[in-house]
Subunit: 354 residues, 2 copies
């Protein structure tokens, strides 16, 4: 496991990024049995769909969950809109759903209210948080702790990959599929390998010191990744970074791309790969500036800044590794721009929304 | 009804924007009985949730639908992820859902595939399109035609407000609530009044001729509106416009806002109004440049560019009017920047995605 801190910023952010191999290893080993027991109860309850409530980074974990539950467990996922529960009078009826609330702190007020309403309606409820004593952990029937240790940087990193891993463990336990079990066992090693391969990312970010806006693109499982990387860039560098699925991007927004327009593209091998290559070609034709995160030399060849991933990570679990160069890029860009990376302006660790 | 074309660009876009009062009037009068019959069948089938598949502008109508179904009919809404159906092997099971596909052309390949999969599973399916002969209209058990007339501008305007209105008509028929019926009856007049009030918007856009990026903010029912306005701005002006709910915006992205940063805020009176006022105060403290669309003088007073709405439109139907100044602003900005407003670079009316 990586122990050195190659950039030595002395920041919480850097330390927490490099803690990820240990956090993931702890989750997949120590929490496996607890997750399996919850999965058995869920299977018995046989919900007809899943509703997930979350905000910010946790909502990106929910986007990943949409693909995991949909593809592996054939369960449709509704991303609950907390304000329907908190601001309007009559909440939707969730009794046939498995209702999951995801929050690093477990103190996100509106996400907690969705769990409270769902529990009151008799729905099966599950909280995924980093604090066993939090209100959300108390409200839900089931709780899976992220066990990530305290997160001190305002920009969430290790709790995000821990949330992704927890959702993957839950679905793996639900469907009891050997491929998923094998992938989870190898995951801590892949996370470690990716961080080691990404040593040059922070320095490479200097090229973008004067970048003011960009788009981030991904699809399928890595739709979540491009959202999360865009959020890290915004939080840490104040650059307007806008995430899109490649499909939505073609429905209009691609119009903003002219020569030199920076686009960060997550193009891992798998079912969406051909579509991402087509998009890379279209962006190249417009002379966009391409930053590519990929496990494929073909995709990386399109890039002015190629960020390489290990070659043997299956698509379904790749979001846990593909976000890592993005975290390092956002940190490097913040350093290049001279920002305080542990305390971005105007942010608080727990955001209260009603 | 407004007939004059006050800016006389001679464009399809301008003509179609000003056709909206007639389109909405035609919908609410001529389609009411057909929608009521479909609603009766849906009530009888008693689905446990709604799944909506859509892309681009139509997906913003789906966001509005999420609040309508949730608040008025207590039905949770899952926004179906078309790629789970088109790219991965085993689609989610939708048999307990009402599955709605929304597409202007009715030819959106992946949205059509969701309807096909849902129909094959025995789910209740409904297509909302502007073409009765389209594949989606044929696939779904039920079809509601938008009756908007052909849309020739690449940027969708009249079909968007027609989609919103259709969803409102469907939910009104489902819950049979007098307030909704009254609101729909008055809607064509409000749309007309808003366009007349918005005469200055196009000229006002000139101030922003050199704007390169902005954010658009809304919440609740008007979450959809800020997404749709951002898309019009991107499609027509190539400005990087990023939409957020006020809640998500505070979870990180607000960090990008410094002095002079342009933010377009939709702040109509209703349940989310206090929250939007709090956000306007926070943005004002950061010396943001505020463009405000509102029916409240208090909210408009925060703005460098205030765009006024009629004062008697209830929150639940306000998205049909609050988007109109946004459409005109995007058109005005395209004119100010000297772009071809009917044929933005690199866009096609029907986008094929798999």
């Amino acid at each position: 496991m990586t122990q050195q801190k190659p950039f030595s910023t002395g920041s919480h952010l850097e330390r927490e990024i490099f803690e990820q191999p240990q956090v993931i290893k702890r989750l997949v080993t120590e929490r496996r049995d607890g997750v399996a027991a919850i999965a058995a109860d869920i299977r018995a309850a046989n919900p007809c769909y899943v509703a997930i409530a979350a905000r910010g980074t946790s909502d990106h974990a929910a986007l990943y969950g949409k693909y995991l539950f949909g593809v592996w467990a054939n369960l449709p996922v509704a991303l609950a809109t907390p304000s329907v529960f908190t601001l309007y009078d009559s909440p939707p009826l969730l009794k046939d759903a498995l209702v999951i609330g995801i929050s690093q702190s477990g103190r996100s007020t509106d996400v907690g209210q969705v769990l409270t309403a769902a529990a009151g309606q008799g729905a099966l409820t599950l909280a995924i948080t980093n604090d066993e004593t939090s209100p959300m952990a108390q409200t839900a029937k089931y709780h899976i702790p992220l066990s990530a240790g305290q997160e001190l940087s305002l920009a969430a990193t290790k709790t995000y990959t821990a949330q992704l891993t927890t959702l993957a463990m839950l679905v793996a336990a639900l469907v009891d599929h050997q491929e998923m079990a094998d992938g989870l066992e190898k995951l801590p090693g892949w996370v470690d390998e990716t961080l080691q391969m990404s040593e040059g990312v922070v320095a490479r970010a200097e090229r973008y010191a004067f970048m003011e806006h960009c788009v981030t693109l991904g699809r399928g499982y890595n739709y979540a990744t491009c959202f999360e990387i865009a959020l890290k860039i915004k939080e840490l560098t104040y650059v307007v970074a806008q995430p899109y699925s490649s499909a939505d991007f073609r429905h209009g927004p691609i119009a903003v791309v002219g020569a030199g327009f920076p686009a960060l593209v997550v193009a891992t091998r798998g079912k969406v790969y051909d579509d991402m290559i087509d998009l890379l070609k279209a962006l190249k034709e417009r002379s966009a500036e391409l930053i590519v995160i990929s496990d494929s030399a073909e995709a990386l060849n399109f890039a002015r800044s190629p960020f390489c991933l290990p070659s043997d990570v299956p698509e379904w679990i790749s979001p846990v590794v593909s976000v890592l160069p993005g975290q390092l890029f956002a940190m490097g860009l913040a350093l290049a721009k001279g920002h305080n990376i542990d305390n971005p302006r105007g942010l608080h660790k727990i955001t209260i929304t009603y």
